[in-house]
Amino acid sequence: MVTRRNFLKIGGSVIAWSVLGGRALASLDFEGNPDRFGMLSDMTRCIGCRRCEAACNKANNLPAPKTSFEDTSVFEEKRKPYVADVQSYTAVNRYEVNGKTVYRKVQCMHCDEPACVSACPVAALKKSKEGPVTWNEKVCIGCRYCIIACPFYVPAYEYSSAFSPNVQKCFMCYHRISEGVIPACTEACPVEAITFGRRSDLIKQAKLRIWGEPDKYIDHIYGEQEAGGTGWLYISGVPFSELDFQMDVGITSYPKLTKDFLSMVNLTLVSWPALLGGFYLASKRKQHTAHDEISDKEDDKQ
């Protein structure tokens, strides 16, 4: 129904968008809440028990996996969280680096300024005030540009569904956080390898740990600046590049990559009509002049 309210809303956004362009609105969209939550994975602590995977599965009502969560044979390959036959929001992978066994938990990074959010043409994906990057099933059109955009190869799609294919990824237990309960994986971790808290506090905590035991940790918090900063942070005892972390994501936020282009929109909308209108008038005038000259010549002949 086109009510007056709807009409104003639509008209308003069209006008606002054409006047302001993507730039101004984009920066509004990503105004970060200083108290937003994040998660800290300490990979020196993780023992690969997969209890976080089990808790995640339960908290999100996902289908039971093929083998039990105690099965460690899954470590023989590097798993992705959500693929056609494995429906999970997170996966723990095992790495052998310099004789040390290291486990890395993979899931959505919950970027501060997510590429997927800026990619979504219907604003189904959002960086919530609380911190998790959420997805709205009610407006998603299934274009999968989010999957193209994500530098961490995280969002997944249900290609086997014809009627309600969903975008799948970790939502940092948004449903629990909004009720004041901490995410399931954090709660289940027996060794406090995953910490939930305000992102700014987590960064301080990570720095304290690194400063406290400089021989144990690599002097880097993955996610503090990567891709403009992520909500999920990692600290490690071995180089991140050995653990399949994306080392090419840089430190600028991804939405900036398209902002300059989007700001061209206004320029084009304003300049083309003026230029082309001018060309049209010029070409008309030329034809008239040519026409006049011809008739002049004809006059001369007579």
Binding site: I10, W17, G22, A26, D29, K80, Y82, V83, A115, V117, S118, A119, C120, P121, V122, A123, A124, N136, V139, C140, I141, G142, C143, R144, Y145, I147, I148, A149, P151, Y153, P155, Y157, E158, Y159, S160, S161, A162, P165, D248, V249, Y254, P255, L257, T258, D260, F261, L262, M264, V265, T268, L269, W272, P273, L276, G277, F279, Y280, S283, K284, K286
Partner: protein, 417 residues
């Protein structure tokens, strides 16, 4: 079939209602034949082949809508977009710039020389966009929500949002731009007059929309710097896409003009047929200039991104194939124009189309996610669907050109441009 003439019925008595309807149907839909005669003319070997292809494609499209994209595509989280978009959207849309390129030349710059091909160019553009939307409808996970970016939920920071709006608007613009031909066919003189009066405004609006979304189609990949191979990823992507779409559009008009000369001669008037050679020479010159510009900017962009060091890798060799092709065509166009060799220009135009399709496939499919170890590019069933939809597009094009004054002037509006 004989040359085209509007058939006029002369009778002394009043026609009955049924006769009026059957005359109208015969006149407008059955090419002046009765329905039985018309259906008989449709049974040709070529049409049978086309029918089989379309049936095969429709079967797989049906499967897709029952069992999901997985049933007919190679789509995965590593390869979220496949042949439907690489062909239908990323390769199809650049050629559909034909409407705005020739329209601008004729209606804004007043280059009357190209008048005979302008209606055909607009029709090709319109169909290109229409079928891009068809491909999109097959590929979207929830196609029944295709209008959401326009009316329901607005992702204003998204390049895809821009593309959605512009494709929708431009499709409408092209519909109106082509409408004079449709209205001439239907004999609605007053409406036609109104439609013709909108030409200049629509053309300018079309240029605005085309500039933005031709570039936006490639600008979508600006968001994926680590995923698109450095030889293709560049901040120049939007402008390269815009310039190459102009080259592609000119190439398409050259190629299709030649094809109509051979296959749709009966539907064209002598003015159209006799002006093709001259138009081809003119378009060849324009294409040469545009593609030289493209080549220059492309080489600068690779230098700008510091990507030449990737040249001695498998992706580098593949890049060389593409760039060699795109670098050769402007010289061939130039040579063809110098020698007034129309045939050479026409073959070069076909080659240009291959080069541009290759470029769009590389950006959207082949050089995308190049760092991932195993990728399946596409499934053969996807190819069947693509061939089927293209076949439908050609049939629709033929249907329209057989009926509406596209390759000719309508006798009633001879002096009226």
């Amino acid at each position: 079939m004989s040359g085209y003439m509007e058939k006029k019925m002369h009778t002394d008595r009043e026609l009955t209602g049924a006769e009026i309807v059957s005359t109208w149907l015969s006149d407008k839909l059955f090419l002046g034949l009765t329905m039985k005669e018309y259906v008989k003319t449709l049974i040709t070997p070529l049409n049978m082949v086309a029918g089989l292809i379309v049936l095969g494609g429709l079967y797989f499209i049906l499967l897709r809508f029952i069992f999901g994209l997985e049933a007919v595509t190679e789509a995965s989280n590593e390869q979220p977009w496949g042949l439907f978009l690489s062909w239908g959207l990323f390769s199809g849309v650049p050629f559909s710039a034909s409407g705005f390129v020739i329209g601008t030349a004729v209606y804004i710059f007043g280059l009357k020389r190209y008048q005979p091909v302008v209606k055909n160019a607009i029709l090709l553009g319109f169909l290109g966009y229409l079928f891009a939307v068809v491909f999109l409808m097959i590929d979207l996970g929830r196609p029944w929500r295709i209008y959401y970016p326009m009316f329901v939920s607005f992702g204003t920071a998204s390049v895809m949002f821009l593309v959605a709006w512009h494709v929708a608007l431009y499709l409408s613009v092209q519909f109106f731009e082509f409408s004079p031909s449709t209205l001439e066919w239907l004999g609605l003189k007053n409406l036609r007059k109104l439609a013709v009066s909108m030409t200049l405004g629509l053309t300018i609006f079309g240029v605005m929309l085309s500039t933005l979304h031709q570039s936006a189609l490639s600008a979508m990949f600006l968001l994926a710097p680590g995923k698109l191979h450095p030889l293709w990823y560049t901040s120049y992507l939007p402008w390269l896409a815009f310039i190459s779409s102009i080259g592609g559009a000119i190439a398409l008009v050259i190629v299709v003009s030649r094809l109509t000369q051979v296959f749709l001669k009966n539907r064209a008037d002598s003015n159209y047929l006799s002006s093709i050679n001259d138009i081809t020479l003119g378009l060849g010159k324009a294409a040469s200039l545009v593609l030289f510009t493209y080549l220059g900017l492309r080489l600068i962009s690779v230098t700008h991104e510091g990507a030449w060091m990737y040249l001695n890798t498998p992706f580098g060799y593949w890049f060389l194939v593409e760039i060699t092709l795109l670098a050769t065509v402007p010289f061939l166009f130039y040579h063809g124009v110098q020698k007034k060799n129309v045939r050479l220009i026409q073959y070069t135009a076909a080659l240009t189309m291959v080069g541009i399709i290759m470029n769009r496939f590389n950006i959207s499919l082949i050089a995308f996610n190049w760092q991932l170890p195993h990728r399946e590019l596409f499934f053969w069933k996807e190819a069947v669907v693509v061939v089927a939809v293209v076949t439908i597009e050609i049939l629709v094009y033929r249907w329209i050109v057989n009926r509406m004054p596209v390759l000719r002037q309508h006798p009633d509006y001879m002096d009226d441009h």
